[in-house]
């Protein structure tokens, strides 16, 4: 067992974890943050995507013990985030989800694409979403929703401080 200190959604957390425990299982089973979903558990489906030190990462491919002294944001931690707020609305308006299993990671990935300015065209968005599998929607509505949110954020950005 190893003692770790992790900042999760802004709160400091200390826990004693076995080294084999993935960050995803740590979040879900120790912290009850069940918005992070597990699909394939080998890095292909993208459902477990969270932010580690501000960058998207697969929580199934990170050991919790390796996250000692790092900060992690899960889908539960974006309440005040304007990009995620825009994405939530456009996902709703465009019906960009059916079962919702991939949605938390879709939102986190889409937010990263928008912030890195990689959501400027349908092609760019589709490339950026290649690592997030959705088995319901056929992606069309997800791509449309992200494009709309990106446009909206882009319009606001010049005035942002």
């Amino acid at each position: 067992m190893s003692m770790i200190h992790v900042r999760i959604n802004g709160s400091e957390v200390a826990d004693d974890v076995p080294p084999r425990l993935s960050l995803a299982d740590f979040l879900r089973e120790r912290r009850n943050l069940t918005g992070t979903h597990l699909g394939c558990e080998h890095g292909v489906c993208g459902a477990c995507t969270v932010l580690v030190d501000g960058e998207p990462a697969r929580s199934c491919l990170m050991l919790a013990v390796a996250c000692d002294d790092r900060s992690v944001e899960t889908i539960e931690g974006f309440a005040g985030d304007p990009v995620v707020a825009a994405l939530r609305r456009t996902f709703h308006e465009r019906h960009a989800l059916q079962c919702g299993y991939c949605t938390p990671a879709m939102l986190i990935t889409a937010r990263d694409l928008i912030l890195r300015k990689r959501a400027g065209s349908e092609r760019e968005i589709r490339d950026g979403l290649a690592g997030n599998i959705c088995r319901c929607t056929g992606y069309t509505n997800i791509v449309t929703a992200i494009a709309e949110a990106a446009q909206e954020i882009g319009k606001e950005a010049p005035n942002a401080q």
């Binding site: 993935s22 580690v52 697969r58 491919l61 050991l63 690592g131």
Partner: protein, 277 residues
Amino acid sequence: MKAPAVDYLRPRTLTEAVDLLAHASVEARVIAGGQSLVAMMNLRVASPGLLIDIARLPELHAVASYSDAVTLGACVTHAAIEDRRVADPSRGLMPRVASTLAYRAIRTRGTIGGSLALSDPAAEWPAVLAALDAEVVLYGSSGRRSLKCTEFTTGIFQTKLAQNEILESARVPKLSPDARYGYVKLCRKSGEFASALAVVVTDPRRGYSRVVSGAANGSPLVLADTSRLVAEGPRDPDALRGTISGDLDRASDRHFDDFQRNLHTVAAMRAVQQVLV
């Protein structure tokens, strides 16, 4: 699935990491980004007894630019290369490659050293660094040694890395301003492992040209005749195709089937076309 039980240590220095590796009583594996190793553990393909986490060793994040080359520490991530946050000796080739490598959420954690040390036959860096004539620097109990990437990877997941060595950095020669390169990755979905890779680097000022096929059923395959032909700026597509075929034929140990042969030929032709002005 879940990873099997394992011990975990995070040494403070590279020397300490090598000591742990050399004296481990169980199978010890070095972990950096873990983007292949943890997946292999989850799939129970790998079950080391001890993980030695080198991801935060400052020595392995060092990047240094010299007059003729850049050394990239082993723990430089694919995303850092993609974003040009580190010096680029390749005038854009390496950032372009990085942007096609897996997915952003993998690139933020996965490292160039990890990719080279694992030497998955379908991975990008072993082929690209072989085409750039790069070297790897290995640090072990008895000191440092350098090896050309073309010698370092010996087969499928096989390298000359000894049990008590850690890949410390990659030394990549700088391309001159009139160098040209081509890169083609054939795969059915953005970000997945390649079915065929082709990398062409030609640098007339240094008298250098090399064509490498990756995902080639073994270590990166240097197409020797095609490399020479590229230096002449081949105009005749049939001659080019014939030369590539000849190089692929000579690599009989790769056991390409017809489909793979065609993929590698097409990838190499397209990559060569990118360097013709």
